[in-house]
Symmetry: C2
Subunit: 535 residues, 2 copies
């Protein structure tokens, strides 16, 4: 439509993505993801939903302060309190973008909002006006009509007209329930563009319940949408959102289908962004995921195909390099000290210095002692772990330190484990039996810490995977847990990660990392409250 | 287009799906998947590519003999030898459907086939004629133009016309490289329908490299395609194929968008089919996968949303029940013996009797001793494991039996493991150190078996995951391995699975299962040869 001005990429990994049950991130983890999104060169980062919880408020505020060269958006319902809170969190951003929403479908109006159409329209207009007054005309102000695809289209268009008149510069068309089919969604977006496209940027936000989020987003580009709301790995509520990597690479690979429309995304950082988000959220990427799955470029390393050997273009429409999949192996011996590691990490899209570099360097050297070959993947895993466990400045002393452990296990019999741990400054130890070595050791941790802190971590999920192939692969363990004294449906779940060539050690590391987060969470007061579902 | 006659679902999980690097299945596993596809009520099962390997030939032959009430397809290049071999494998099927293909894109003609357009057209016509002569007019005969989307469209249409004149009743339009955008693909399919739709069924086969396989398949339905080639979980080469569950549920959920077009699929078997395929191939399904991901219906069990409580339709466009996601928990104590288990399994879509039932029953009782609650998921995992390890009638004595093991591991130090195993009738044992307990025990297995069989399993992938949540979840371990004496890029990889509440035990079980398969493979002669890439 307008090939000179790139289509905007509005990344909502930290808001809609992080809203996925079980994907919760800490403030430090959200900041780390934001830095990676800056490397990716997205146009807007939706950092959170500030009114939903104190933790989300803090994350948005921190990202707004620390992240430069990108607009920072925050979500708010059209309801007194929400937009004010969002502005407070966003105010120090270089370019704040308040994003207010309200449902426009009759089913939501009747069943959830208990408002009529005129009341909804009036609320939308009021809060868009507030947006403009508080943040001024220099920055964009966004309005979303939740459940747009199931709304009465004439009413929907009337709402968009009214908010654009009130000053909205971006109007978003969300397919909240993942219901739309590309041809029909393209037609709806076309109508919105025809009606308000001269006064505002038309944006789309698609869910993947029928596997169509990427296709609907691309159909919207063909219809004139100029802002695309996406997430890394397609993370998000239920089946997730349109996937950043798929949308960007489709535009990149098939420009003639989109009248030359393109994005500013630095595609070579896609693979690293995908791995970071998968690692921190604990959400695996399936091998056959487009662009970022292990097999997406598997003609590379798998069965060598006759055609591929003769001409790569016979089966390849984009190169692995274009998405930052280098696949190169390095030998840690070749790194000339910290500087060599720094250079190597820079090539991988990561700039580290000072203590962080030192920590990763030491871990890499230690790893090289027990593993024949330290790969790029190993290094990335170490960097991610360092970032994930980055010491919180307000709580410099780690609340739990694993001092030692041992376990024995044999065929058919049970396992017995022993753990020594310092928790809130008190050294304790305990023994426990279990169905397996991990169960035994987790049980020993529970027994050891409960007398000191009054509860123990209650596991809700446990996953191990190898992050690099081969027999001496490092095992990466992800656990999710809540405090044993909280109710079962609590939303105060935390993730813990561990990384070791010994899966038992990795499991314990992850469990203790989760324990630490739960202690921090307790110290911070209220657990995170369930935000109202948005878009 | 024709709402009375359902759109045909042509499932290629066992051909294109199984072609995914690392997804290789044994003959017994393929037969098990075929039985599940019959329960799903697909119209055509593409059982394999008989000329690609003796193993694939055997699998197609066995499925053709054993599977009733469904057409069985086999793939063949338009090249002397291939179609004959495919007919030999298919001949005992109730409804055999030979599927011949040849590339029609200039890049494939020049770089791979080294043929000109007229030669290709002549080959296509010749082998379609052969198809009709060998299998007669009672059954369908299919032709695919590989890389159709990158072919010259006029030439492509000419080829389709010629093969329909020669007797093809199904012409397939594959987007081999996953390159098409829905609007353009719909237009191409429309042209094919206009040209040959009165004489043949138009079929499509879409790859997912840009995340658009499902959308392209649905755009084709809107353009008049009447056969859809799909796979369970979207398994397949690289980023995979259009996903059966997404395509079927989109047609089911949005009938008005498809003029009432529907399929015969029994959607309530979708979840079980997805789990079985994931388990046997070792390919995980990501949490945010549409329809079958853990979170696809996560409003069910995750954060309870205000709207969902007031009216399910506010955020739900299909029910979990419609895809067979029951989520019910059972207590093994409530099962009144084998008959109770049989009834419960029947509800889950699985009919077991005789030895198989007995084996699962014993395993379930044993599991109930170590685990508080035996869930549906646990039962399904046990059934899958029983099926996967189903004793090969030609080799009733298992070639490797794990007799005992023990391991010790502690903080910072290495691990030491000892294994006793009977391999080809010889009892051996060995000890080994390792970076972790699994590494130590696998090393001990290697040391023990190499003097007897001359090689040991060389691990190429190792994955653990919990199949059911909670602290006493069963760990499911998947390993892939080759024989240490085979070259690194060998395609003779096997999968092994293990299942236990002790992850060490599950790992060893999986490793020994892989060892057994490698011994069988050696006994059967040639390892599986790399088939030429198709579609």
């Amino acid at each position: 439509m307008n090939a000179e001005i790139p289509v905007r990429i509005f990344d909502t990994t930290l808001r809609d993505g992080e809203q996925a049950p079980g994907a919760g991130l800490t403030v430090a983890e959200k900041v780390e993801v934001a830095h990676q999104l800056v490397r990716l060169n997205v146009d807007i980062i939706e950092a959170g939903f500030p009114a939903s919880s104190p933790g989300d408020f803090e994350a948005v505020q921190k990202i707004a302060k620390e992240t430069k060269g990108v607009a920072i958006a925050g979500l708010a319902r059209c309801r007194d309190g929400d937009p004010q809170r969002a502005v407070d969190a966003l105010i120090s951003a270089e370019r704040p973008q308040l994003h207010v929403f309200i449902s426009t479908s009759d089913i939501h109006l009747e069943s959830q909002l208990r408002m009529d159409r005129e009341q909804v329209l009036q609320q939308a207009v009021n809060w868009v006006r507030y947006e403009r007054e508080r943040l001024g005309n220099e920055v964009d102000s966004e309005f979303s009509a939740m459940d747009a695809t199931r709304s009465d289209h004439e009413y929907l268009l009337r709402v968009y007209e009214a908010v654009v008149d009130a000053g909205a510069t971006v109007v978003n068309v969300p397919d909240t329930v993942g219901y739309a089919i590309p041809a029909e969604f393209g037609m709806l977006v076309q109508r919105v563009v025809d009606r308000v496209g001269s006064g505002a940027i038309v944006s789309v936000h698609c869910h993947n319940d029928l596997g169509l989020a990427t296709a609907n987003t691309l159909a919207a580009v063909q219809a004139g949408a100029r802002q695309l709301e996406v997430t890394v790995n397609g993370l998000g509520e239920r089946a997730g959102n349109a996937s950043l990597e798929e949308v960007v690479m489709a535009l990149h690979t098939r420009p003639t289908q989109f009248e030359g429309d393109h994005t500013r995304v630095a595609t070579e950082h896609i693979t690293n962004a995908s791995r970071l988000v998968s690692h921190l959220t604990g959400f695996t990427v399936q091998p056959n995921k487009a662009i970022v799955g292990r097999n997406a470029f598997a003609h590379e390393s798998g069965i060598h195909q006759d055609g591929m050997l003769k001409n790569r273009m016979t089966y390849e429409i984009m190169t692995p390099q274009s998405v930052g999949l280098a696949g190169s192996h390095i030998s840690i011996g070749k790194l000339s000290g910290r500087r060599g590691l720094q250079g190597k990490l820079h090539d991988l899209g990561i700039d580290l210095e000072g203590d962080s570099l030192e920590e990763v360097y030491r871990a890499a050297i230690a790893l090289a002692d027990v593993k024949k070959e330290v790969t790029d993947t190993d290094l990335l895993a170490l960097v991610e772990q360092q970032a994930a466990g980055g010491v919180d400045p307000e709580a410099a002393t780690p609340p739990a330190v694993l001092e030692g452990w041992n376990v024995s296990s044999s065929h058919g019999g049970s396992s017995r484990g022993e753990v020594s741990i310092t928790v809130r400054g008190t050294a304790v130890n305990a023994e426990s039996d279990g169905n397996g070595p991990v169960d035994a050791l987790f049980g020993a941790v529970d027994k050891a810490v409960e007398p000191v802190i009054g509860w123990f971590p209650k596991l809700t999920a446990y996953e191990i995977r190898a992050v690099s192939g081969g027999e001496d692969a490092q095992g990466q363990v992800l656990v999710r847990a809540r405090r044993s004294i909280d109710p079962e449906d609590t939303v105060a779940l935390v993730n813990g990660q561990g990384l070791s060539t010994n899966i038992i050690e990795a499991s314990l590391e992850a469990y203790v990392a989760a324990l630490e987060k739960l202690i921090w969470q307790e110290a911070a007061g209220q657990p995170v409250a369930a935000g109202e579902l948005a878009e």
